[in-house]
C-alpha cells in the first residue's frame, strides 16, 4: 500500500469512527449538538450531572 493510499484509508477510518461516535453520543444525549453553545444543551446538562455525581461520591 502506498503512502497516499494509507493516508486516504486512515482519514476515511477516522471519519467513520467520528460519525458513528457522534450519532451514538447524540442519541444518548451525551454529545453537544454544536448548534447552540448558549442553551443548556444535552452536553452541558450531562457535564453538570456528571460533576454532581462526582461531588456526591
Amino acid at each position: 500500500m502506498t503512502l497516499e493510499n494509507t493516508l486516504t484509508f486512515l482519514i476515511i477510518a477516522a471519519c467513520a469512527f467520528y460519525t458513528f461516535r457522534f450519532i451514538v453520543r447524540t442519541l444518548r444525549g451525551e454529545s453537544d449538538c454544536g448548534k447552540c453553545s448558549s442553551c443548556d444543551s444535552p452536553a452541558i446538562l450531562t457535564k453538570n450531572n456528571q460533576r454532581d455525581k462526582n461531588i456526591n461520591r
Binding site: 493510499n5 467520528y18 460519525t19 457522534f22 448558549s38 452541558i44 457535564k47 456526591n56
Partner: protein, 794 residues
C-alpha cells in the same frame, strides 16, 4: 476576587452553594454571567432559563458555586421549570442539603409583584441577599426607592445593581461575602395568615409529629395551599394515602375563601406594609416610551404588519449584504482547491482533499456571511425586547389550533434551534399542550435549514426586484420558506390536539419587558458564538460525513473503466494528431517537426509563447486572424471539448459504479416521484444525522461527477448545469422547491430526537416525530414537484 470556570472545581470538598432566584426576566442570567464569567445566553424575554445552570466564582479565596435557576413568580410549582426551583431551594434535588445562601434578584420597577416570591423565600429560613436590579427603569417610571429602608423592612441586605451594565457588582459581592462567611441570621417575613389557614397548617403539623414524618414546614404549607400542585403530589407519594386524607381534612378549614386566595391576600398585605416607606410613586402614572411603542407593536393590524415588514427587511438584508463576502469565500475555496491539486499528485488522496474536503466543507462555509447577518438581526430583535411582542401576536394564531399561548416562546426559540425550543416547553404546565408543542417545534425553520434554502434560492430564484426597488424576490422567497414550517405546524397541532392530546386550554400570561436599545456588544458576541459553532460543525461532523460520502462515491474506482476511457483518449489523440500537426507545421515547421506524438505536440504548443499568444489573439481579434490560425484554433478547441466529454463520461461511470451509485439505484424509485435522481436521494439520506450536511454532500457528489468545472466552479452554478443521464437538466424549479419543502418539513436532526427522548423519557415520541415528519415531508415534496410540473415550471 477572581472569576473561575466550572472546570477548575472538582475538588473533594463541597463548595458553598448560592442559588440565584427571581421572577422571569429580571436579569438573572446577566447577573449570573457577570459573577461567574461564563457566557450563558441572555434573552430579553421570560423563560430563557428552564433548568439550573451552574458556574463558580471565588470569594475570600474560597470557591463558591452559583446556580442560575429558572424564573418563577412563586414557589407554588406546577410546571417543570418551577419544580426545579423549589427542589433545589429545599434540598430535594440530587439529595443535597439546601443552599447556603439565596441571592434574590428583583425588578425595581415592579417591586410589588417581585416581593411576592421574596416573601415565600424568606420563609425557607435560609440567609438571603436581595439585588435590586433595573433601577434605571424604575427611575424612568418616576419611582423613588429607598434601598436602606427596604433592607430594614425586609431584614435582609439590599444592594442596588444594574446587571447588564455591571454596576454595583462589587458591592453585591462584598455583601454576599459578609452574609456567607458570618453566622448571619436569615431574614424573616412576618406575615400574619388568617386563622383558618393557620388551623389547617397546625393540624397537618401535628399529624406529622404524631406519625414521625419529617416534612419541612415550608413543604407542608405548600402542599396545603397548592391543591394538585407539585409539592402535594410528591408528599403524597412519600408519606402515603393517609397524608392525602389529612390534606383534605386540613383544607376543610377554609370557609368562604380558598387557601390560595387567603395566602395571596396575606402576602400582598405584608408587601404593602414593606413598601409603604421604601418606595415613593409619582402622583400620576408615567407613560413610558415602551407603552407608546406597544400601542403599535401589539396592535391587531399594525402589529402584524410591522412584524411582517421587520421580517421582510431581515431577509432582504441577507441577500443584499452577503453577496460580496460570499464571492470572496467562494474564490478562496476555488484557489485552495487549485493549490492542493497542484501540490498533491492526481489520485485518491487528491480527490479526497479537493472533492471531499474542500468541495464539501467549502460548499457550506460559503453561507457563513448570510448566517451571520441573520443571527445579527435575531440578536438585535431579542435584545431590544421585541420577541415577547411577536409571541403575543403569534398567540392569536396559535389559539386557533387550540395550542396554549405558552407555546409561543418554545416555538419562537425553535426558529434558531429546536433543542432549546423543546427544552423551553418545560414552562407549559399542561402536559398534553407541552407534548403537542414538542411535536411541532421541529417544524420551525431552524438555522441549519438556512444553507439549504439559500443555495437553492440563490441558484433558481431570479435576483429580481419587486415594487420598484423595495423588495427582492430572493428575499421574499426566503421569508416564504420560513413560513412553510409555521403554516404546516398550525394544522398539524390542531390535528394532534384533536387526537393525541386533549382540548384543555391554559391561559397565556406573558410579561412584556421594557424596550431598550440593543447592545452591539451582545449582538456581536451572539453572532460570534453562532458562527464559531457553525464552523466547528463544518469542521467536525459535516467534514466527516463529506469524507464518507466521498469514499462511497469514489470507490471501488474500477481499473476497467480507467482502461476503457484511456483507450478512447488515445484514439481521439491518434485521430486528431495528424490534422493538428499539419496545421501547426504551417505556422512553425522547424519547431514542430520532431513532435512525434500528440502529447509531445501539445507540450510544444504550450511551450511556444508565440503560438499561445496567437491562439489567444484569434478570439475576437481585429483584423480577423489568418485562415491557418483560425483552423488551428477550431481543431484545438474541438480536441479539448472531446477530451472534456470523455472525462465527464468517465467520472459519470465511476460515480454510477461506485458503492454510493449502487445504493442510489435502490432508492431511486422512492425519490423519483419527487423529481429527484439517485444523487439527490443519497445526499438527503446522508443528511439525516444533521440536515445541513446536504450542501456538503451535494458538493462532493457533483464534484466527483465532474459537474463543477471552470465555468461552474461554485455549487450554485453547478446545480444549474447538472444534467440527468438523458441530458435534461436535473435541478429545475419544481425539483429545487421539492427539495426545499422536504428539508423544511423533515426531521433530519439526531440531536432534536435525543432531546425529545430526554424530555418525554420515552423513545416512543421521538420515533413518532421522526416518522410523521418524514412522511409529511415526503408527501408535501411530491405535491410540490407535481404541482410545479403541472404549472409548467419544469
Amino acid at each position: 476576587m477572581k472569576k473561575n470556570t466550572s472546570s477548575a472545581h472538582t475538588g473533594a470538598s463541597d463548595p458553598k452553594r448560592i442559588a440565584l432566584v427571581g421572577n422571569p426576566n429580571t436579569g438573572k442570567t446577566s447577573l449570573f454571567n457577570t459573577l461567574t464569567g461564563l457566557n450563558q445566553k441572555v434573552g430579553n424575554y421570560p423563560g430563557v432559563t428552564v433548568d439550573r445552570k451552574t458556574g463558580f466564582f471565588t470569594l475570600q479565596g474560597e470557591s463558591i458555586e452559583l446556580m442560575d435557576l429558572p424564573g418563577t413568580y412563586s414557589l407554588a410549582a406546577r410546571s417543570l421549570d418551577e419544580t426545579v426551583v423549589i427542589d433545589i431551594l429545599i434540598g430535594k434535588q440530587l439529595q443535597k442539603e439546601p443552599v447556603d445562601l439565596i441571592l434574590i434578584i428583583v425588578d425595581a420597577s415592579n417591586l410589588t409583584r417581585n416581593l411576592y416570591l421574596v416573601s415565600q423565600i424568606l420563609e425557607l429560613n435560609i440567609p438571603v441577599v436581595l439585588a435590586l436590579n433595573m433601577t434605571d427603569i424604575a427611575a424612568s417610571k418616576g419611582l423613588e426607592i429607598d434601598a436602606d429602608c427596604l433592607s430594614s423592612n425586609l431584614s435582609v441586605p439590599v444592594v442596588r445593581i444594574q446587571a447588564n451594565k455591571r454596576k454595583g457588582i462589587d458591592e453585591l459581592k462584598t455583601m454576599i461575602s459578609d452574609v456567607l462567611f458570618s453566622e448571619s441570621v436569615p431574614g424573616k417575613s412576618e406575615i400574619i395568615y388568617p386563622e383558618e389557614l393557620n388551623n389547617g397548617f397546625t393540624q397537618l403539623k401535628q399529624w406529622c409529629q404524631a406519625n414521625q414524618k419529617e416534612i419541612k414546614e415550608v413543604e407542608l404549607f405548600r402542599a396545603l395551599v397548592d391543591q394538585d400542585g407539585y409539592t402535594e403530589k410528591r408528599l403524597i407519594q412519600e408519606a402515603g394515602d393517609e397524608f392525602a386524607q389529612q390534606l383534605i381534612s386540613a383544607r376543610s378549614h377554609a370557609q368562604k375563601v380558598s387557601f390560595p386566595s387567603l395566602e395571596a391576600q396575606a402576602r400582598y398585605r405584608w408587601i404593602a406594609h414593606v413598601l409603604k416607606d421604601a418606595v415613593r410613586k409619582p402622583a400620576f402614572p408615567v407613560s413610558t416610551t415602551s407603552d407608546t411603542l406597544d400601542r403599535y407593536f401589539t396592535h391587531k393590524l399594525f402589529g402584524s404588519l410591522i412584524f411582517l415588514v421587520i421580517m421582510a427587511i431581515v431577509f432582504q438584508s441577507i441577500y443584499a449584504w452577503a453577496a460580496p463576502i460570499m464571492d470572496t469565500v467562494e474564490s478562496f475555496f476555488g484557489y485552495l482547491g487549485g493549490l492542493v491539486s497542484s501540490i498533491i499528485p492526481e489520485g485518491a488522496l487528491q480527490s479526497l482533499l479537493v472533492d471531499g474536503v474542500i468541495g464539501g466543507v467549502g460548499g457550506i462555509l460559503v453561507f457563513l456571511p448570510q448566517i451571520a447577518i441573520l443571527f445579527f438581526f435575531i440578536a438585535l430583535l431579542e435584545d431590544c425586547g421585541y420577541l415577547p411582542r411577536a409571541a403575543y401576536l403569534m398567540d392569536r394564531i396559535l389559539s386557533f389550533c387550540g395550542l396554549s399561548g405558552k407555546s409561543c416562546i418554545p416555538l419562537l426559540s425553535s426558529f434558531a434551534c429546536a433543542i432549546p425550543g423543546v427544552m423551553a416547553t418545560r414552562t407549559i404546565e399542561n402536559k398534553r399542550d407541552r407534548l403537542v408543542t414538542m411535536i411541532v417545534a421541529p417544524l420551525m425553520s431552524c438555522s441549519a435549514r438556512l444553507p439549504v434554502y439559500l443555495i437553492f434560492i440563490g441558484a433558481f430564484v431570479p435576483n429580481r426586484t419587486l415594487l420598484g426597488d423595495t423588495l427582492n424576490l430572493q428575499g421574499i422567497t426566503l421569508l416564504a420558506c420560513y413560513l412553510i414550517g409555521i403554516s404546516v405546524a398550525i394544522p398539524i397541532a390542531w390535528i394532534f390536539k384533536k387526537t393525541v392530546a386533549s382540548d384543555d386550554h391554559s391561559i397565556f400570561i406573558m410579561e412584556f419587558p421594557s424596550y431598550k436599545l440593543p447592545s452591539l456588544r451582545n449582538a456581536i458576541l451572539y453572532v460570534y458564538e453562532q458562527c464559531r459553532e457553525f464552523i466547528l460543525r463544518a469542521g467536525t461532523i459535516i467534514l466527516c460525513v463529506s469524507v464518507l460520502v466521498w469514499a462511497l462515491a469514489y470507490f471501488p474506482h474500477s481499473n476497467q473503466i480507467e482502461q476503457k476511457y484511456e483507450t478512447e483518449r488515445q484514439q481521439l489523440a491518434d485521430n486528431t494528431y495528424p490534422a493538428l500537426l499539419t496545421t501547426v507545421q504551417q505556422h512553425n515547421p522547424a519547431f514542430y517537426q520532431d513532435a512525434s506524438t500528440m502529447t509531445a505536440l501539445l507540450e510544444k504548443m504550450a511551450l511556444d509563447a508565440s503560438l499561445s499568444s496567437l491562439l489567444e489573439e484569434t478570439n475576437g481579434a481585429e483584423p480577423a486572424p489568418s485562415d491557418s490560425l483560425r483552423k488551428l484554433q477550431t481543431q484545438y478547441t474541438n480536441y479539448l471539448t472531446a477530451l472534456n466529454d470523455i472525462a465527464q463520461q468517465e467520472n459519470g461511470d465511476y460515480l454510477r459504479e461506485s458503492y454510493l451509485g449502487k445504493m442510489g439505484r435502490w432508492i431511486e424509485p422512492i425519490v423519483r416521484p419527487m423529481g429527484w435522481d439517485w444523487r439527490i436521494g443519497m445526499a438527503a439520506i446522508a443528511s439525516f444525522p444533521a440536515r445541513e450536511i446536504i450542501v456538503a454532500t451535494l458538493g462532493t457528489i457533483l464534484n466527483l461527477g465532474d459537474q463543477m468545472d471552470e465555468e461552474s466552479s461554485d455549487l450554485r452554478s453547478a446545480l444549474q448545469n447538472t444534467q440527468r443521464e438523458d441530458g435534461t437538466k436535473l435541478f429545475t424549479i419544481p425539483v429545487a422547491f421539492s427539495i426545499i419543502v422536504f428539508f423544511a418539513l423533515c426531521c433530519q436532526c439526531a440531536a432534536t430526537l435525543a432531546i425529545i427522548q430526554r424530555e418525554t423519557k420515552s423513545w416512543k415520541w421521538p420515533l413518532f416525530v421522526f416518522c410523521y415528519m418524514t412522511a409529511l415531508a415526503y408527501v408535501c415534496s411530491i405535491l410540490t414537484y407535481q404541482v410545479g410540473m403541472w404549472a409548467g415550471l419544469g
